[in-house]
């Protein structure tokens, strides 16, 4: 028997609330169509979603953890970039 493993896929589900697709986990599948089928079975059994995206994990380009300093720390001292100086009017959701 072949020891070859199927490629890994990342799964993104859009929930019923109409928010954006959110990463929910990963799975193995032989190809894209099967990945969608598997995602449906593994991640939407309890009505979690109305839309599925899958992308092969190998196609995701990630930031380098050792670069975390130069990438993210400069933002820490820029408090004025946060919209915390405004009052949020009542009734605004998802802020």
């Amino acid at each position: 028997m072949s020891k070859k493993e199927w490629p890994l896929w990342e799964v993104f589900i859009r929930s019923k609330q109409g928010l954006s697709h959110k990463h929910v986990g990963s799975l193995r599948a032989s190809d894209a169509e099967m990945a969608v089928n598997n995602a449906r079975d593994v991640y939407t059994r309890r009505s979690e979603g109305i839309s599925i995206w899958v992308v092969e994990s190998a196609n995701i380009v990630a930031s380098d953890p050792s670069e975390a300093g130069p990438l993210f720390e400069p933002a820490n001292s820029k408090i004025y970039r946060h919209p915390t100086f405004y009052e949020v009017p009542e009734g605004i959701k998802h802020m």
């Binding site: 799975l27 089928n37 079975d41």
Partner: protein, 252 residues
Amino acid sequence: MTKQEALFEFLLRKADDSLILGHRLSEWCGHGPILEEDIALTNISLDLIGQATELYKYAAKVEDKGRTEDDLAFLRIEREYKNVLLVEQTNGDFGKTIVRQFFFDHFEHLLYEGLMNSKDEQISAIATKTIKEIKYHLRHSSEWLIRLGDGTEESHNRVQTSVTDLSRFINELFYQDEVDEILIKEGIIPDVKEFRAEFDKNIGAILEEATLKLPEEKWQLSGGRKGVHSEHLGYLLAELQYMQRTYPGMEW
């Protein structure tokens, strides 16, 4: 045979098809070839057992002798089960399970599309709910058959053997007798003869894509609708009914 008796018999046949195949698929629980497929097969199993529950409930109501859906599912003897022989066949390897499912799903798809237009409101309501599940099952088994058939030499040979072995149960899916005649006349069920050509075309197209062939030999088996089963059903029922037989009336 009265219309009521025919309706009861029809509901029992379809409920038994769903229950027995659902039970067979549940045997995969914890044994699937990969985690994803283990979940897929047990999802389909639960869909089928859910369908059986609805059909048994309605059958019990039609019969009107005080039996419940649980009595019908758990407390009949082998000869009283009216499922087709295909669904009681053993799981075999994953490919055989897929082939069994593939033939069944394609038949169910056409049957339930017809049942959606049933003059019996309860049946058309059950069919409308069920058709969505069947369409997914159909997609699942068809996609797998294509990949196994047109996969490696090993997967192709194994799945071709199962296509050959299980093709002898296809004609029984289209079995008809007095029950069907009465219900067709009443507009309660479709005449399955009318979609045999479409069934052959649908499975033919996918088998071709999967580089698989139906055998030349047309030897066919039947008997399930009259309660005459293969040797496999008895063992299945022994497991299915064990709890109710051992602890009568138990609930959990």
